[in-house]
């Protein structure tokens, strides 16, 4: 850049080169920095989806908050869902800053959620009919989340990387809370073990789906590839899924539980887990709002948003006293 020449005088192409140089050098992009429109849109898509997933993700566990089977478990699960809500709030604040130049705000995020335009994570569309599910969600869904979020701790977008740092620290406690529920049930009565196995059977395919399809071929979607180019993320969906298997399959087996996939094994030659892939057409259906609980959970939020409209109006109109 010529001395004295302002950044604004650069051509779009030069700005782009400068931007890529910065992220390749490991620099962080901040909200007021120049960024390509495409980068901004990728971040909005990713972070608003992540934020809203945290919020929708509190709902299946919330079903078990009052029913948690001891005072200690009640306190722990209350703390967990409160954390999840906090993560959602933190992430939506990051997304809102990115959306502001486009003239959009929180209200637009909520409207997009209600209309189905803004999707949330596949796991939060599923049924959680027993206490075993509360354990599996906290242990394995949060465990999976730690793996996919840790990869982005060094994200090129500064505010997202910083939010994730805090989120991951709390997620570790959640996974421990989940593991503690699982251990109690695994060491408990035959009925408790059965309930636990039943939950694992129910959640396994959702956990495979959690990381997304192997490549663009399955969905015709190349967001993951683009995000690697922009250094928003560093690993592919399959890398993450393999990491999850390596971490959790031995633990699941050591509890004496059975993974509902008799083809699953570690292949020494390729150093990869071989497994039965998920039904990705089903995945598409689920995240499009056609999962078993999609509409019920969306209805809870739609309904409360409408019921509380008078409160938001009142706050906006607040007179000083």
């Amino acid at each position: 850049m010529t001395v004295g020449m302002s950044f604004n005088q650069l051509s779009e192409e030069e700005k782009m080169t400068h931007f890529l140089d910065r992220i390749n050098a490991g620099e962080k992009i901040e909200p007021d920095d120049w960024m390509p429109e495409d980068y901004r849109l990728q971040l909005i898509r990713l972070i608003s989806m992540h934020g809203i997933s945290e919020i929708m993700g509190a709902l299946p566990e919330k079903e078990w908050v009052p029913k948690a089977p001891s005072l200690h478990r009640k306190l722990a699960i209350m703390a967990k869902v409160q954390d999840e809500m906090g993560h959602g709030q933190l992430l939506l604040r990051v997304a809102e800053d990115l959306m502001a130049p486009l003239g959009k705000n929180r209200h637009d995020i909520m409207e997009d959620l209600f209309s189905g335009k803004l999707k949330f994570h596949n796991v939060f569309h599923m049924d959680a009919p027993t206490w075993g599910d509360a354990g599996i969600i906290a242990w394995l869904v949060d465990g999976a989340a730690i793996i996919s979020q840790s990869m982005m701790l060094d994200s090129s977008y500064g505010p997202y990387a910083r939010a994730l740092k805090r989120i991951c620290a709390e997620e570790v406690f959640h996974a421990q809370h989940g593991e503690s529920i699982i251990l109690a049930m695994a060491e408990g009565t035959p009925e408790q073990r059965e309930m636990l196995q039943d939950s694992l059977n129910r959640w396994w395919e959702s956990l495979i789906m959690f990381f997304g399809p192997k490549s663009a071929k399955e969905t015709g979607n190349s967001n993951a590839d683009k995000n690697i180019m922009y250094k928003i993320r560093t690993k592919t969906n399959e890398d993450l899924r393999q990491e999850f298997f390596t971490k959790y399959i031995p633990r699941i087996w050591s509890l004496g539980l059975t993974i509902p996939d008799d083809t699953i094994r570690f292949d020494e030659d390729s150093q990869m887990w071989i497994y039965k892939d998920a039904d990705w057409s089903k995945f598409k259906q689920i995240v499009s709002g056609n999962g078993p609980q999609s509409q019920n959970r969306l209805d809870l939020r739609r309904r409360s948003y409408k019921n509380n409209e008078w409160v938001r109006t009142a706050l906006a109109a607040k007179k000083a006293i």
Partner: protein, 268 residues
């Protein structure tokens, strides 16, 4: 006093008081937890779920005090008593509105703000008195709880004042909520049938003294927001401290104990 120096009559009074304290927080924490994901905005969801979690922690402290004086395991006490053994005030067991937390919840935010604010004012007065309770473990618990409860009170006071001085619709809804809560809030302010023994043992201040403090505070706040003071709150549906309760408590305890009751003997 400590556990060892309690006389039988004092112990009976202490047990009654501890059940009131524990059950009040337990039930209102439960009603609060039903709001998760349904609050007016996400920031409130974060704050309210933190408050509910704190209150569940307070209930837990009191249940543990009961366990320590021989009432049985805290989990059993919390989960396995029948509704008529609960000592909470009736207004605190009341549902948040039509529907359930799982299906079609048409919850009433004005009712929630009023109930929580009025309760927080009383809880503050009660804790302030309990800090000097003759039963040292209770005084210690009160001092601990007070550090958290300070923020709860502040939170609900802000909500109460904001909504009472805002749009016509908000004022209308809040006024209706005050009238609704007023009918039964007297149940929170009473120490129940063992009132004399409780006071005689110096476990807490006289209920009339605390009632007066509550009425003075609420009267002043109502005046500040331009509303009128409706006179002493009533106890229309009966006294929860006597074990008198509504269907709402049955629903609450059935939900709270659903999993635990399947096998109280096992670890969960």
């Amino acid at each position: 006093m400590t556990q060892e120096t309690l006389k039988p009559q004092e112990k009976k009074a202490l047990i009654e008081l501890l059940y009131q304290l524990a059950d009040d927080d337990f039930l209102l924490a439960f009603r609060g937890s039903e709001w998760l994901g349904l609050a007016p905005h996400i920031e409130e969801d974060v704050a309210f779920s933190s408050i509910s979690q704190d209150m569940m922690g307070h209930a837990n402290l009191y249940y543990n005090l009961l366990e320590n004086i021989g009432e049985g395991e805290a989990d059993r006490i919390a989960h396995l008593r029948s509704p008529n053994q609960f000592r909470n005030a009736i207004i605190l067991e009341e549902v948040n509105g039509p529907g359930t937390y799982l299906k079609e919840p048409d919850y009433d935010w004005a009712f929630t703000v009023v109930r929580n604010y009025f309760y927080a004012v009383h809880k503050h007065i009660r804790l302030d008195s309990l800090r000097h309770s003759s039963y040292e473990p209770l005084a210690e618990a009160a001092r601990k709880i007070m550090t958290e409860q300070y923020y709860h009170l502040m939170h609900w006071e802000i909500w109460f004042k904001q909504l009472m001085t805002s749009t016509d619709e908000a004022i209308l809804r809040m006024t209706a909520a005050i009238q609704k809560v007023w009918k039964d809030f007297g149940g929170v302010l009473t120490l129940g049938p063992y009132y004399e023994d409780i006071v005689k043992a110096n476990l807490i201040d006289d209920e009339n003294v605390m009632k007066k403090r509550w009425n003075n505070k609420i009267e002043a706040v109502l005046k500040e927001v331009g509303a009128s003071y409706p006179g002493e709150p009533r106890m229309e549906r009966g006294n929860g401290r006597n074990g008198v309760h509504t269907e709402d408590l049955k629903q609450a305890t059935a939900t709270l104990s659903e999993v635990y009751a399947t096998n109280p003997a096992t670890g969960w």
